[in-house]
Symmetry: C2
Subunit: 165 residues, 2 copies
DNA sequence: AGAATATGTCAGCCTTGTTGACATTCCAAG
DNA sequence: CTTGGAATGTCAACAAGGCTGACATATTCT
């Protein structure tokens, strides 16, 4: 420690501090995905299915293209996941009314049930972490995460909330 | 921290708040890995190589088993990565002196150069995010991340720092 | 009519994770 | 000194989930 130099206002920007932040992200993300991963492992699903289910639940009726933009994968990759979810009756794909080229995605009852199960597990950990750290820490957490995003991702991150009714 | 039952002290624990935190983690992690990923893509390496290089740089002379515990993958998976790094002359594997079964891992000059390149890119983003959010936000960020880790991961996270020197 | 858009699909490749089986080397306990 | 177990390495096979490229089909826009 003791990076003396000038005041302590820059202390949190030393390479060592940044490195600790990097490692904290690495280890925390493992925890972040651990609970849903355990649930998914018991079925024939993976993290990719979880992500699709999450964002369909979040924006019911979203189009394939929209989901593609949010997830940042190729349509082939997403399609493989969506196909299994539709075949298994967790997701419903409805042809658009105004533009019939589009497919609007919705969770079925079974899909919503799985979403709840995954979401509950993930939120439980988040809730425990928030509770342990306190409201002010949470505010800082959110600020740093947002600053870490690519600008387009930040847009999408906000767009999801705005799209909500 | 004021677990005040009613009132706004619980507002940050609503499902919607938690969900936003979850999405923030998702989008932020994408940004977090984006810069190193771009560099790695130009070589024949991936994120797994980055992780190995990072923790070897962090704890020079660490054993394969130790690295296995930190990374949380199978030895076969790690071995495949290590083998290419050793073949390419980025990592050196030295037989232990006291226990000659162990292999102690070190970065070569070339390995250290790549580590620096990847690390610089990742730290630059981290530094920008820290700077934008401010020291108090950073403290909160770290608190929440730490609370989100699995206990064993938290141990390892701290152990890395203690092992230093 | 023709261009552009939204979606789906086939085929093939890569990275990175998994299991299982097995060899080698070495430490340590009997 | 022998043997059991630990640490490591290696081979083979497989799966998830990324990727690219090519191509098909509707549908909509110009």
């Amino acid at each position: 420690m003791a990076e003396g130099q000038s005041g302590e206002s820059l202390l949190f920007l030393t390479d060592e501090q940044l490195r600790q932040g990097i490692e904290a992200m690495f280890f925390a993300y493992r925890g972040f995905t651990a609970d849903p991963d355990r649930i998914l492992a018991t079925m024939a699903y993976g993290r990719a299915h979880h992500r699709a289910i999450h964002f369909i639940a979040r924006s019911p009726g979203t189009t394939v293209n929209n989901l593609l933009n949010i997830l940042g994968v190729t349509k082939q990759s997403l399609n493989r996941v969506l196909r299994t979810l539709i075949e298994d009756g967790l997701v419903e794909s409805r042809q658009g009314t105004t533009d019939r080229r589009e497919r609007h995605l919705h969770l079925t009852e079974a899909g919503a049930a799985l979403e709840r199960k995954l979401s509950d597990a993930q939120r439980a950990r988040m809730r425990a972490a928030y509770r342990a750290a306190g409201p002010e820490a949470v505010a800082g957490f959110r600020q740093v995460l947002e600053a870490m995003m690519d600008p387009e991702m930040r847009r999408k991150y906000h767009a999801i909330r705005e799209a909500e009714t």
